[in-house]
């Protein structure tokens, strides 16, 4: 019984919880096979997997706000200071 229970196919509700481990390559081989077997026969979970991949892709297109011109000036100033300090050290 126990062995049968372990080998039963995943249901959709379980699939959506395993998906990150799947995408991260963290599922043990036997679980990965069961995951693949379910995906092969379930268009809804296939769609769900595509949507998770699309979500990750879209999140990756977000970018930080660019530096303000004040910050650019501030870091430029820092750079000049350090460069001058360096030049003085060399002369000394």
């Amino acid at each position: 019984m126990t062995i049968l229970a372990l080998r039963r196919p995943y249901v959709c509700r379980e699939m959506v919880e395993l998906i990150t481990d799947y995408l991260e390559g963290a599922l043990p081989r036997s679980q990965r096979r069961r995951f693949d077997a379910h995906i092969a026969g379930c268009e809804h979970c296939g769609e769900y997997l595509r949507q998770m991949r699309e979500t990750i892709r879209l999140t990756g297109t977000l970018t930080d706000a660019d530096l303000t011109s004040a910050m650019r000036e501030e870091f430029g100033e820092l750079f000049r200071q350090m460069r001058d300090e360096d030049a003085r050290d060399r002369e000394a």
């Binding site: 249901v11 959709c12 998906i19 481990d21 979970c45 297109t61 910050m71 870091f75 820092l78 460069r83």
Partner: protein, 209 residues
């Protein structure tokens, strides 16, 4: 300190910052500002996890850039520049040490999908409506980005940190685990919760007829 490399060592060509670094070493201010712009967001996020306020995180990042300029001559490119840089930020943020240690609650966010969308056997009762290919092209990209941003803002802090570091900043799971002092398994749980909620946020925007 010195900004000049003793000689142009051959480094692994994989480092995406190599060109900027060479220009910084040659004394070019604009290249340095570009380098800051490229990495500052990630550095702030990392620092913020270890100190008690955004203002302190800003200071940590500022100090880190000074340390970077001082140490650049000695940086030999055994790791990528970013790995080296993030290590400097983390060391500084940790030693600033202001922050009390929070316990990491990883299991507090519920299931990835509303359980009422499955039937008694656990199969989809209300399946996801197919997204068209490249929804980013179908929808106004700005609307989508703002939906994603508000989704991210709505995540519990740890989930948001992990999702941003992995999916926005592109850090590896090893880098994130090291930065947050969490295990691989915890990292995956946080990533899973966060990504699942972002998908749901997009579905609410995209999937409605």
């Amino acid at each position: 300190m010195t900004l000049r490399s003793p000689l142009a060592r051959s480094r692994p060509p994989a480092d995406p910052d190599a060109d900027l670094l060479a220009r910084v070493r040659a004394g070019e201010e604009r290249a340095f500002v570009e380098l800051v712009a490229r990495h500052r967001g990630t550095m702030l996020r990392l620092a913020r996890m270890h100190v008690s306020s955004s203002a302190i995180a800003e200071e940590v990042v500022q100090d880190a850039w000074v340390a970077v300029l001082r140490g650049l001559a000695a940086f030999e490119g055994r790791s990528t520049f970013r790995t080296w840089l993030l290590q400097i930020v983390l060391n500084r943020a940790r030693s600033t040490g202001v922050r009390e240690h929070r316990t990491i609650a990883v299991g507090d966010a519920g299931p990835a999908v509303d359980p009422t969308r499955f039937d008694a056997d656990g199969a989809w009762a209300s399946p996801p409506r197919p997204w068209e290919d490249e929804i980013g092209e179908r929808l106004d990209a700005r609307a989508l980005a703002s939906q994603l941003r508000s989704g991210l803002d709505g995540l519990p802090a740890r989930q948001r940190e992990v999702v941003m570091l992995r999916d926005v900043d592109g850090l590896s799971s090893d880098e994130v685990c090291a930065a947050l002092d969490i295990t691989e398994a915890n990292q995956r749980v946080l990533l899973h919760r966060g990504r699942s909620r972002l998908r749901a946020a997009l579905e609410a925007e995209v999937g409605t007829p």
